[in-house]
C-alpha cells in the first residue's frame, strides 16, 4: 500500500551530504523526509578523513577551487548554526595545513599545481606558501630529515567528522525532518505530479526528490533522466592510540584529532570492490607517515578501516536538476565534509526555491557527455 506522504521533498541518502542538505531544506521551511539505507551499507560518512580542505583542489577547474574555498570560509558559521540547533561542538579547527614533500620532485609538483590554480582563478584561490625544509622545521620541529619542504595554506582545517555526522542527524530531528533508516530506495518511478520511491519498505510518494545516495547515485540517477558516472576509489586509514597534542595544524595524510588519536590516510585503490583493509597498503601509509613524523613510530595503531569515496569520473561534484523530470535534483560529491557548509547554507535554499543558481552550472553533468563524445 503506497504511503501518502505529506513531505515537500524526499532526500534519498542520510550521510553527510544528504543530512546537510536535508537540514538546510528544513531550515528553508520545507517539510523534509530522508530515506536512508541500513547501518551496514557502504558509507563514506563513516570512513572519511574529516578534512575541511581547499589546498590543491580545482586544478583545471577554477570553479571547484573557489567553491571549496567558499565552503571552508562558511564553515565557522555552519558549525555555529549546528551548535545552536543541537548543542554539539564538532571541533572545527582551521589553523592551516601542510602538504609534505619527501623529494624535491614532489615539492616542485606541489608548487607547480598551486601556482597553476592561482593563475586559473585569477589569484582568487586560497593563499599558500612553499616552504623549504628549514622553514617547515621552524613551524614543526618534529618533522623528520626526509621532509625536504612543504606547501602551507592557512585556508585548510579539520573537524571531528563522527560528531559532525551526529550533529547533522540531531539537527535534522530538531528541525522536524522525517528521518527513516532501513529505507533503501530500490526504484524511482516518475509520476504525473512527482515520484514514487519504492523499496522493501513499500512505496513513498514525493512531489520533489533529491538524490544524495553516495555510490548508489549512479544507479538511481538514470531512473529520473540524470547522469552520474562514478569511478571506484577505495581509501584506507590507520588510527593510533590517543596521545598529547603534537601537531596543531593538519595535512592531507596525517592529522591529530581533537581527542588525540592520529589518523593516517590518503591511499587510493581503483581496482577493487572488497571493503577489507589490506596490510600492504597499511605498511605504505605507516612508512610515509613515519618519514614525515618519526615520533609516530612509537605509537600503537589501534584500528584501521577502508571506505569507498564517492568520486565522479573527473573528481568534481555534480549539482543538477533533471531536465526531463523537473523536481528531481542530484548532489554527488567526494568532499562531504568540506562542502557541508555550502550544501546546508547555499545549495539547500536553492533547491527549496526550486532552481539551482547559474553559479552551479559548471557542475552540470553535461560535461561528461562532451568528453564522452570527443
Amino acid at each position: 500500500m503506497p504511503l501518502l506522504d505529506k513531505s515537500d521533498i524526499a532526500v534519498v541518502g542520510g550521510g553527510l551530504v544528504g543530512a546537510a542538505l536535508a537540514w538546510g531544506l528544513a531550515r528553508a521551511g520545507l517539510k523534509t523526509m530522508v530515506l536512508d539505507g541500513a547501518d551496514l551499507d557502504p558509507r563514506a560518512s563513516r570512513a572519511n578523513f574529516a578534512l575541511v580542505w581547499v589546498q590543491g583542489k580545482g586544478l583545471h577547474a577554477p570553479h571547484y577551487a573557489l567553491w571549496s574555498k567558499a565552503s571552508a570560509e562558511r564553515w565557522a558559521a555552519f558549525a555555529a548554526a549546528l551548535a545552536e540547533d543541537t548543542g554539539i561542538d564538532v571541533a572545527l579547527s582551521q589553523r592551516g595545513a601542510f602538504s609534505f614533500a619527501l623529494s624535491l620532485g614532489e615539492l616542485d609538483g606541489l608548487a607547480a599545481e598551486l601556482e597553476q590554480i592561482a593563475i586559473e582563478t585569477g589569484g582568487a584561490a586560497a593563499p599558500y606558501e612553499i616552504l623549504t625544509a628549514q622553514e617547515t622545521r621552524r613551524h614543526l620541529p618534529l618533522v623528520g630529515p626526509d621532509v625536504v619542504g612543504a606547501a602551507y595554506s592557512p585556508a585548510d582545517g579539520h573537524v571531528n567528522s563522527l560528531r559532525l555526522f551526529r550533529a547533522l542527524h540531531a539537527a535534522m530531528r530538531h528541525r522536524g525532518v522525517d528521518y527513516r533508516s532501513g529505507h533503501a530506495v530500490e526504484r524511482i518511478e516518475p509520476q504525473g505530479n512527482g515520484f514514487r520511491l519504492v523499496g522493501a519498505y513499500g512505496a513513498i510518494a514525493a512531489r520533489r526528490i533529491l538524490l544524495a545516495a553516495g555510490t548508489d547515485n549512479q544507479r538511481l540517477a538514470a531512473m529520473v533522466g540524470l547522469h552520474a558516472p562514478l569511478k571506484r576509489s577505495k581509501g584506507q586509514i590507520l588510527v593510533t592510540e590517543k596521545c598529547r597534542p603534537f601537531f596543531e595544524y593538519t595535512s592531507a595524510t596525517i592529522r591529530q584529532t581533537d581527542e588525540g588519536g592520529v589518523m593516517i590516510g590518503d591511499s587510493e585503490e581503483t581496482h577493487t570492490s572488497a571493503i577489507a583493509t589490506k596490510q600492504e597498503i597499511s605498511a605504505v601509509l605507516a612508512n610515509r607517515a613515519m618519514r614525515v613524523f618519526p615520533c609516530l613510530a612509537e605509537l600503537n595503531v589501534v584500528r584501521s578501516w577502508a571506505g569507498f569515496r564517492v568520486k565522479t569520473q573527473d573528481g568534481l561534484p555534480i549539482y543538477e536538476q533533471s531536465a526531463s523530470h523537473p523536481g528531481a535534483f542530484i548532489v554527488v560529491c567526494h568532499s562531504g565534509v568540506t562542502l557541508a557548509a555550502n550544501h546546508a547554507l547555499v545549495v539547500a535554499p536553492q533547491i527549496a526555491a526550486g532552481t539551482l543558481s547559474t553559479d552551479l552550472a559548471p557542475f552540470h553533468s553535461r560535461r561528461f557527455h562532451a568528453s564522452e563524445n570527443s
Partner: protein, 101 residues
C-alpha cells in the same frame, strides 16, 4: 577486591606508583594489581576520569599503565615480572620530543 583462591607458590615483587607490591609468579599485571587492592589504574584520556580493567582480555584498553618507562601498556596482557616499575597512565601518552602540556 579480588581474593586469591590459593597461596602463591612463588612470589615476585614490583612497584606501582612507588608502592611495593607482591604478586604470584604467573599473574598478569592487571590481576596482580587488582589482587593488591588497586582500583584505579589510570586516568582517562579525554575526561581525566579514574579507570580500572574491564574486559581483562585485551579488548577494552581500560587497564593501561606505564611499565619501565613505556607508556600505554595493556596490563591484562603482560605477565608480572620481578622488579617491574609500574606507574598509572595519567591521561594521553606523550610523544617523544613533544612538550608535556
Amino acid at each position: 577486591m579480588l581474593l586469591r583462591i590459593r597461596e602463591p607458590a612463588e612470589m615476585v615483587t614490583f612497584s606501582f606508583d612507588g608502592r611495593h607490591v607482591t604478586a604470584a609468579r604467573g599473574d598478569t599485571l592487571a590481576a596482580a594489581l587488582l589482587a593488591a587492592g588497586v582500583d584505579t589504574f589510570r586516568e582517562s584520556v579525554v575526561g581525566g576520569e579514574p579507570r580500572a580493567p574491564y574486559c581483562l582480555m585485551g579488548v577494552c584498553f581500560e587497564c593501561l599503565v606505564t611499565i619501565d618507562g613505556i607508556q600505554n601498556r595493556q596490563s591484562c596482557l603482560i605477565e608480572v615480572r620481578e622488579g617491574m616499575v609500574v606507574n598509572s597512565q595519567l591521561g594521553a601518552r606523550l610523544v617523544t620530543g613533544c612538550a608535556d602540556r
